[in-house]
């Protein structure tokens, strides 16, 4: 009969439809209490929403901030770590001594730490890890270890590192990923199975979705509260908000859409944490190329931008205004915002004077939320002052890195430099994409690194001021650290000034 044929033709699809319809029906059964997913109160699991999933778990060969964000201090530990105030504190090294010539560091190590593969952590492993940076790492960060002349294990619990010359930055860098301590037989599969001594051990990785970290049962320090912490990755800010609102996650680790905080601020179910970061949002100039090689043009740009209004519009007023490349958490911070106050008349006058109005400036920004947002404000502000600006959006990372960063084919760009203490990296090297070549700054930086801690502060202050006066770039604002979490989650890192999203202190009140 025809009817049976028809069923044969569309039958499979329809049967499937019925089955699916039934199950879909049952699922829409209103049951709000169950919609909290796996993170219902009382369980010891926490889900943290983050943006930008790592592509690999191996930060020895892959650049990218997402890997240390997830693993550093959590899975891998360092000898020394950075606390919330930017101070260097003991970690695997319980104490350390610096020789009087400031070239030899002697670390006393804990004897309780164990790698998650069962091996105990000893000074030999520390030597191995330090040497391995120089030998096998491929990312550019390895250069921070160049200053090390020699590392040797004095005993199982004592490590001695000798530098080629005194360096204030070396110990600081040891708090970052290059200081991560790895086991010689734990590096076979760094990209997918990291092995460290940290409070958490690596669990599973659902690519494209989440990384799960399990509490390390053999951790040598205070055990973490949560048995499992899931880092769940989102592509856009709205999805993050929705996930928190519907209980899929408990914490938004980094708020990328500050405008949306309004909906959480008035809500008693959530807490909003505001702190600072190392992320200076810089309107960078190509300092060697006309017209940006002209000081007056650069000054005109700095006068033309209404920083307060900019921060209000593009980052909802969150953040800190800074006048140079130094965040308030660094010891050499100084408020330099008064150097170039918003002064449209002056900007217009400088534009007239330099005749720059006839040139179209290429503002080439990466496709990142803050850059896209600020770019439109900067363009509008500059056009008010008489500049001509073409806004180019370059896909981040690939296109922006090639065009702006590597080939310096740009006039202005906007990017947040999130590395700690990166003034020297950004403005001390004439090869860097800012192409800023100022002997005074370079000398100050060198003196700061090799000098005493007091000299370091003095020279860094000088460098920061020169930089700002010379309008080497415009410093739009300092990115805030914005976290939204369920009420009752404690131990969330207020400031994001290390490379890590430190999960070790997390708890529930």
């Amino acid at each position: 009969m025809k009817s049976t044929r028809f069923v044969a033709a569309l039958g499979a699809a329809l049967t499937a439809a019925l089955v699916a319809a039934c199950s879909a029906g049952s699922s829409t059964n209103p049951n709000p209490s169950a919609s909290g997913g796996g993170a219902a109160p009382g369980s010891d699991k926490l889900t943290v929403g983050l943006v930008a999933e790592p592509v690999s778990l191996d930060f020895t060969t892959n650049d990218g901030a997402a890997i240390p964000q997830a693993l550093l201090y959590n899975v891998y530990e360092t000898l020394v770590k950075l606390d919330q105030n930017g101070d260097i504190k003991p970690a695997l090294a319980t104490s350390w001594k610096v020789s009087s010539d400031r070239k030899t560091y002697t670390f006393d190590l804990t004897d309780k730490a164990k790698f998650t593969n069962g091996q105990p952590f000893t000074a030999k492993d520390a030597v191995f890890s330090i040497d391995r940076v120089k030998k096998d790492w491929t990312t550019s960060l390895k250069s921070a270890m160049d200053v090390v002349a020699d590392a040797k294990a004095v005993s199982d619990t004592q490590l001695q590192v000798t530098l080629k010359q005194p360096s204030n930055s070396w110990l600081y860098k040891m708090t970052t990923r290059i200081g991560a301590m790895m086991a010689p037989d734990g590096i076979a599969d760094l990209a997918t199975k990291p092995v460290g001594t940290g409070p958490y051990e690596f669990g599973t990785w659902n690519r494209g979705d989440s990384i799960s970290l399990k509490a390390n049962p053999n951790y040598w320090g205070p055990k973490p509260h949560f048995g499992e912490v899931v880092l769940k990755y989102f592509k856009d800010a709205t999805a993050l908000n929705n996930a928190l609102l519907t209980g899929t996650i408990n914490v938004i680790g980094t708020v990328q859409a500050p405008e949306s905080l309004k909906q959480f601020e008035g809500n008693s179910k959530y807490q909003v944490i505001e702190g600072t970061t190392n992320g200076e949002v810089v309107l960078s100039f190509n300092n060697v190329k006309a017209p940006m090689n002209n000081l007056k043009v650069r000054q005109a740009v700095r006068y033309a931008i209404n920083h307060k209004a900019l921060m209000d519009t593009c980052w909802a007023g969150y953040g800190t205004l800074i006048g140079s490349m130094v965040p308030p958490t660094d010891p050499w911070y100084e408020d330099l915002t008064g150097l170039y106050p918003y002064d449209l008349a002056k900007a217009k006058q400088l534009v007239q004077e330099t005749g720059v109005a006839n040139t179209t400036l290429r503002l080439r920004i990466p496709t990142l939320p803050y850059a896209v947002s600020c770019g439109q404000v900067v363009k509008s502000d500059l056009e008010q002052a008489g500049f001509k600006v073409a806004l180019d959006q370059l896909e981040f990372p690939a296109a922006w890195l090639t065009t702006v960063f590597k080939n310096a084919d740009y006039d202005m760009s906007i990017v947040a430099h999130v590395e700690p203490r990166d003034l020297g990296a950004v403005f001390g090297n004439p090869q860097y994409y800012t192409r800023y070549d100022n002997k005074q700054v370079q000398q100050d930086l060198a003196k700061a690194d090799t000098g005493t801690p007091q000299e370091q502060i003095t020279y860094m202050k000088a460098a920061a001021k020169t930089l700002s006066e010379d309008a080497a770039a415009d410093f739009l604002f300092l990115l805030p650290n914005l976290i939204v979490a369920d009420k009752g989650i404690t131990g969330l890192p207020k400031n994001a000034i290390s490379e890590s999203f430190d999960l070790s202190q997390l708890g529930r009140s």
Binding site: M1, P32, S140
Partner: protein
Amino acid sequence: MLLRILRRTGILLASLVASTVLVFAFMAVLPGDPARVALGVNASDEAVGQLRREFGLDRPLAAQYLSWIGGLARFDLGTSYISHAPIGPQIADRLMVTLWLVVTAMVIALVVAVPLGTVMAMRHRRPSGVLLSALSQVGVAVPAFLAGILLITVFAIGLGWLPANGWTPPDQDPVMFVKQLTLPALSLGIVQAAVLTRYVRSAILDVMREDYIRTARAKGLTPTQALRRHGMRNASIPVITVLGLQLATLLIGAVVVERVFVIPGLGSLLLDAVSNRDLIVVQDVVMVLVLAVLVVNFVVDLLYLVIDPRLQVSSR
């Protein structure tokens, strides 16, 4: 009939080979160096060169192509430039996710569109039919991601019935799986249903005008019976064509909805790979998508053979 199947299989294979060339050529002209992206901006040229050698990117294009399709023929999709992980299992995982989404959406679309389109056709002159038809036009005009945003706003945030986003594999937690699948599948499905409804309606209208429906009614079948017994099978031919096309569109169209609902499907894998310049992954994903579409077309053609006896005898 056998001849037809053979011929169709031949076309499928030829298309596959041709598409590998096209995909590879397209990738070859994409600027951006995967090695440099992997190593970060300050990497030395030597390091980049070394990595390029490791990936085999320094070989002539023809050699790269041959080793790629050689791998494909052995179902070995290679290793990612960036994560150093084998690509095959990754794509398989992501494809499963996308397929769940797409097939569920398709089923929703069918379940909605077939009865609705039929009703619209049978009442195409009455106000109710015209109203439904107008509604379906509006449905066609709404982008799937907008539907997704609306659904999230109402059912996840507003009513709190379902999670706003996320993905759980069915074997891990079937209940959560269904919950998380519902909204994205609906937002894809509703829009597709609107499109499909219009095709069903016009296919049924066409069929209802056919002489054999009149013959059937002259036999003593009611209009509904005539349509069910004689119309549906014939109307299903154009509808299946559209279904095939839609399935292909959905495989790709899912990428936007995957983004809105944070679903780790094939589309998001591709977007990530593009921004990381993980070209080998991009190449493989595009190839898999092309393959999927070609296979869908192939299956649709075979379905014609099953449905339409006129195609079974003569080989064109």
